[in-house]
């Protein structure tokens, strides 16, 4: 049914409906060991070699809680402006699926470690947004399943499945937002920017690899629509519609697409007088579409109860205070500080958003903020875009760019020569100074050599020299050009001009 139905354009959907969304993000921690046992968490090991009686759920085994994982959960909670529970508890979430060896997942239910926080971040155009955090709780990851037979890798039609428990029991933190309302047509963008902000925070805290492409950050997106009210009426008074949950949306782009798709799909259903089914949906990276998964009515009964094998987690206030005091500078605050230090305008800051760390590194290596910004947001960003890679992946370091700036400041390179030197570095010819030496790019700074080149040019163009003597200063350009040609562009044009004027005055 869903496949055949008509779609509504996003713009029309937004005119008729007001979207409300919530996001659950799973962050896989980078602790050395698992949540409840001392098996290593390293990746790429042969299957079922990082397992023990606890994480394959053998009878009689008992979980022991990883202190570092709890520390990471507290630090993340603090960074998300959450309250930290003085007593939180683990609970068993019961369901039958072979990715869980015990038939339950140890998670947290009504007593999570972090609660009531918020994240502030900026959209691309500088609009400030705040998303409220309901809670962040600790849990264990599930095992990796491979479905064999049937359609490749799909569940339906599979003949059997293979289970690797190496990932089972790896620590996760799940961060749950409160419903986000009132974002209108910016909803897809806000959803993406929220996850990006969360990723940046996690990265600065150093508690996870924070790689969406490798599954260390995974998002589930809840979305519902409600009727848009007439101007002047209270939109907040309209109850939320039925929501869908789109699972495992694993890139920033996918989050934006999935939200957009669900807005269009649900709007078409509601407009046609059909109900939105409360269900789990799957996002397909290739088509940008979501398809129906499990209906929520069937099995959404996990029969949570307190985990009897673990005692309440009661982080002492002193520990929490120490963790708070040692938090690194968070991205939003850092951005504000750097802008003040560098004196960038809001627009310049926005242009620099994708290369902020690189600019910071370049400034730290001795370049001026304006110079660093010019190279990274100009030449280098362009080159990276052309090659389809991120600026970090270019074979140029912030140190290289700083040394390029230095070479210009010393008068060794003109802007034009600096571009050539940079091209050499990008081509793998080594740092700028080495390229300058190897390609002989340095400005002819030697006054005698430059003076001789000027004399030669004047001698070769006597009629031009005569014009200049006669007061036609516009003709100087021709001699400058001749000198630049003779030095293959390695002369400082202003200096050449001064030398010509000196000789003909």
């Amino acid at each position: 049914m869903n496949q055949q139905m008509e779609f509504m354009s996003f713009d029309e959907a937004m005119q008729r409906f007001d979207p409300v969304f919530g996001i659950e993000v799973h962050v896989e921690l980078n602790t050395a060991t698992k949540m409840f046992c001392s098996c290593a968490t390293s990746f790429g090991a042969p299957p079922n070699t990082l397992v023990c009686p606890v994480c394959i759920g053998l009878p009689g085994s008992m979980p022991t809680l990883n202190k570092k994982a709890v520390e990471s959960a507290i630090r993340l909670g603090l960074a998300l402006n959450c309250s930290i529970a003085s007593m939180s508890r683990f609970a068993r979430k019961n369901y039958f699926y072979p990715d869980l060896s015990k038939n339950y997942q140890i998670s947290q239910y009504d007593e999570p470690i972090d609660y009531d926080g918020y994240v502030e971040f900026e959209l691309d155009d500088g609009t400030e947004v705040r998303v409220d955090i309901e809670r962040a709780h600790m849990e264990e990851d599930a095992a990796k399943l491979t479905h064999v037979g049937g359609a490749a890798g799909r569940i339906h039609g599979a003949n059997y499945s293979l289970v690797d428990y190496n990932r089972g029991g790896v620590p996760l933190i799940e961060i749950v937002t409160k419903p986000v309302e009132g974002m209108g047509e910016r909803t897809p963008e806000v959803a993406r920017a929220y996850v990006a902000a969360l990723r940046d925070i996690v990265r600065v805290l150093g508690i996870s690899d924070a790689r969406m492409d490798q599954g260390s950050i995974r998002a589930d997106v809840n979305l519902s629509l409600r009727r848009r009210v007439e101007a002047g009426q209270d939109q907040g008074a309209v109850p939320f519609g039925k929501r869908t949950e789109t699972k495992n949306v694993n890139s920033l782009r996918a989050i934006e697409l999935a939200v957009r798709y669900e807005c269009e799909r649900q709007a078409a259903l509601l407009t046609a007088g059909q109900p939105v089914v409360q269900e789990t949906r799957h996002f397909h990276e290739d088509t940008g579409a979501t398809t129906s998964g499990r209906s929520k009515e069937e099995a959404e009964d996990y029969r949570y109860f307190p985990e009897p094998d673990l005692l309440p987690v009661c982080p002492p206030a002193k520990w929490v205070a120490e963790l708070r005091a040692s938090l690194p500078e968070l991205p939003a605050r850092r951005r504000r500080r750097l802008q003040a230090e560098w004196g960038f305008t809001d627009l310049e800051m926005r242009d620099a958003a994708g290369v902020l760390d690189l600019i910071a590194g370049t400034v730290e290596a001795g370049a001026s903020p304006a110079g660093a910004r010019k190279w990274w947001t100009g030449e280098l960003m362009r080159t990276a875009n052309e090659q389809g890679i991120s600026p970090e992946e270019l074979p140029v370091t912030p140190g290289d760019v700083a040394s390029l700036e230095q070479l210009i400041a010393q008068g060794t390179l003109t802007d034009k020569l600096a571009r050539q030197a940079l091209a050499g570095t990008l081509a793998g010819e080594g740092p700028p100074a080495a390229v300058v030496a190897a390609r002989g790019l340095a400005v002819v700074g030697d006054d005698d050599a430059l003076g001789k080149a000027v004399d030669d040019a004047l001698a070769a163009n006597p009629e031009v020299a005569e014009k200049i003597r006669g007061g036609k200063t516009a003709a100087i350009g021709a001699i400058v050009g001749a000198v630049m040609k003779a030095t293959r562009g390695k002369a400082d044009a202003a200096k050449v001009r001064a030398l010509i004027e000196e000789r003909l005055s």
């Binding site: 070699t49 023990c52 599930a142 059997y160 005692l311």
Partner: protein
């Protein structure tokens, strides 16, 4: 004053993948009700101000340091598996979705 109905038991049994006969449903409903009623006596001894507790003594968690310890070998891990293949547990075809 049976708190647990036959329907409750049927639902719980389905969730827990336990097959119960019609007769067993009646027996279990009666027995579980008796257990719940017995435990409910505790409610009469506490008032609103008494916090819920899951353990009679206030105990706190003790942490494990994040240091790698010994794991099982793959052969040991799979030694009691009903079926294995390519170093992995082999399980029957699964209907339904991952959580």
């Amino acid at each position: 004053m049976s708190a647990i109905t036959r329907e409750d038991v049927a639902r719980l049994a389905a969730l827990a993948r336990i097959a119960l006969t019609e007769g067993e449903l009646d027996v279990m409903a009666g027995q579980l009700s008796a257990i719940v009623d017995a435990v409910a006596v505790v409610s009469s001894a506490v008032d609103e101000a008494t916090p819920a507790t899951s353990h009679p003594i206030r105990l706190e968690n003790v942490y494990r340091q994040d240091l790698v310890g010994a794991s099982l070998s793959q052969a040991e891990a799979l030694s009691s598996a009903p079926a294995a293949q390519d170093g992995q547990f082999r399980v029957p075809q699964i209907l339904g979705d991952e959580q």
